[in-house]
């Protein structure tokens, strides 16, 4: 169970003055049951990358494999692939179009050709999962709040029962509470439903908190790929390409520079607090 990109290049507007190579020799494997964050500054090729994963864009050269099959083969059903690899675009609330929330969510599973009973079931389930209450099922999507719309849009993709869920900046433009809700939703989808998740994010704190593996893109290339603790040890390199490390990591790094002996490489907020507390108690001889 994996998506594999093999030496993929992607060129926009070939043979026009605006020609631009968005992806350069990208090779990467996304395995079952992973929780991956994709980071990189604007224009580094992230959006193009995610669109290759479900066959919305075809590489200019190189191959994309889904479960070992080349997805460009004519016999391969792109539609089925899009059900298995659910893609949630940036600001997905702009794609809502039906008169009611529940009918909008049913759009995806209907296109997948599921049985009517399953369509109903999956849609209710997905809406419940994202925390949209029964009272909103027959509301117009346009009447919802920003965060609610976003969750309905995510439910629309979830209802297709994807094995991989790819989200392009799922938390962009939401308030802190809305952001946390979305990120917690991804976490529970990953842990309870065993869905592989790949999300694009500009918030290093979110990346540290939720991702197990991090892909770093710069100017069309994947420049770093590894466990999040590993990735965030490259503070200087990340800053050079316009990114950074979570505040907790840069705090620990500064403390270390000032002679504090902090054990391990904490990256999450909670872990960092623990580690600093431990270092402080150790220095003061067991009491604060």
């Amino acid at each position: 169970m994996s998506i594999l990109l093999d030496h993929v290049n992607y060129i926009y507007g070939e043979n026009t003055p605006d020609e631009k190579q968005a992806l350069i020799d990208v090779s990467v494997e996304i395995k079952e049951n992973e929780m991956i964050a994709l980071v990189g500054h604007t224009g580094s090729g992230k959006s193009t990358f995610v669109q290759l994963l479900n066959g919305l864009e075809a590489p200019s050269s190189g191959t994309v494999y889904y479960q070992g099959t080349d997805i460009s083969e004519p016999s391969f059903s792109k539609r089925e692939l899009r059900g298995k690899v659910g893609l949630v675009f940036q600001y997905p609330e702009y794609q809502l179009f039906e008169e009611t929330v529940i009918r909008d969510v049913q759009f995806g599973p209907k296109n997948m050709g599921f049985r009517d009973l399953d369509i109903e079931l999956y849609s209710f389930e997905a809406l419940k999962k994202v925390g949209i209450g029964d009272e909103l099922l027959d509301a117009s999507p346009l009447s919802l709040s920003g965060g609610q719309k976003r969750r309905v849009a995510i439910a629309g993709v979830l209802a297709m029962q994807p094995e991989f869920l790819i989200l392009d900046e799922p938390a962009a433009g939401l308030d802190p509470a809305g952001k946390r809700e979305i990120m917690e939703l991804l976490k529970s989808l990953h842990e309870e439903k065993k869905i592989t998740i790949l999300f694009v994010s500009h918030s290093m704190e979110d990346v540290a908190e939720y991702a197990k593996r991090v892909l770093v893109m710069n100017e069309g290339r994947i420049v770093l790929d590894g466990r999040s603790e590993q990735i965030f040890s490259y503070q200087k390199e990340l800053e050079q390409i316009g990114l950074g490390v979570p505040q907790s990591v840069s705090l620990v790094n500064s403390l270390k520079k000032h002679g504090w002996d902090i054990k391990g490489m904490p990256i999450k907020y909670g872990e960092t607090v623990e580690a600093i507390y431990e270092a402080v108690t150790r220095r003061s001889g067991g009491s604060i």
Partner: protein
Amino acid sequence: MIRDITIGQYYRTESVIHRLDPRVKIVGTLCYMISLFTFQSFAGYLAAIPFFAFVLLLSRVPFSYTVKGLKPVFVMLILTSVLNLFWTEGTVIVRLGFVVVTWEGLKRMIVISLRLILLIIGASVLTLTTTPNQLTDGLEHLFSPLKKVHVPVHEIAMMMSIALRFIPILIEETGRIMKAQTARGADFETGSVLRRIKNMFPIFIPLFVSAVHRAGDLADAMDARCYHGGAGRTKLHPLHYTGRDSAAFFVLLLYLLLLYFVKRYIPY
């Protein structure tokens, strides 16, 4: 697929033609287009084609790029060619059953299709080398005498430039929504006509919703900058004629003279 539309698009590069005053370009294009209708002979093209080639060369827009503009009218081009070829009376060259090709028909086909091609790629040079803003600026100036008879020239020009400005945005938006719905398994390419029209709803409804939103936002932004219409407004980049523009008018005059003499002395 939507990205392939080139008609009305601006081609960004540095050239004399790009830097010309838009008024000169509009008047020039108009003269050129009218001039194409003043002759029925091959000889006229001895003037028109070199003139067009000269302008295109100066503009530094690749020829292949202007030709792309022909794609949407390709069917029309073929149709007029066929009609002219087979339905013109005169000296017969080939006769195959009821299909008759005459010398006059052949000549007419070539003259007319060449005219159509030159007309369309000629007009596309104007839009390829002039930004929409310059274009409406030029039009506003050229039509400003109409203000005397209370035609709201400025407002019309403003509406035009807003509309033009939003075309690429809406095209991009359409592409984005199409992709989002495709990612949800929507299919826009197969099925009966009725089915396909029905399949367009998931695109058009979000598109309209966002267009209305954008219009509201734009109105607010204009309001916030105290926009109140044409009276008393000055320009950031006022249009000035320069030596370059006089030279362009001179070249245009040369072309028209050349066309006149060619028509007069070459009888084909």
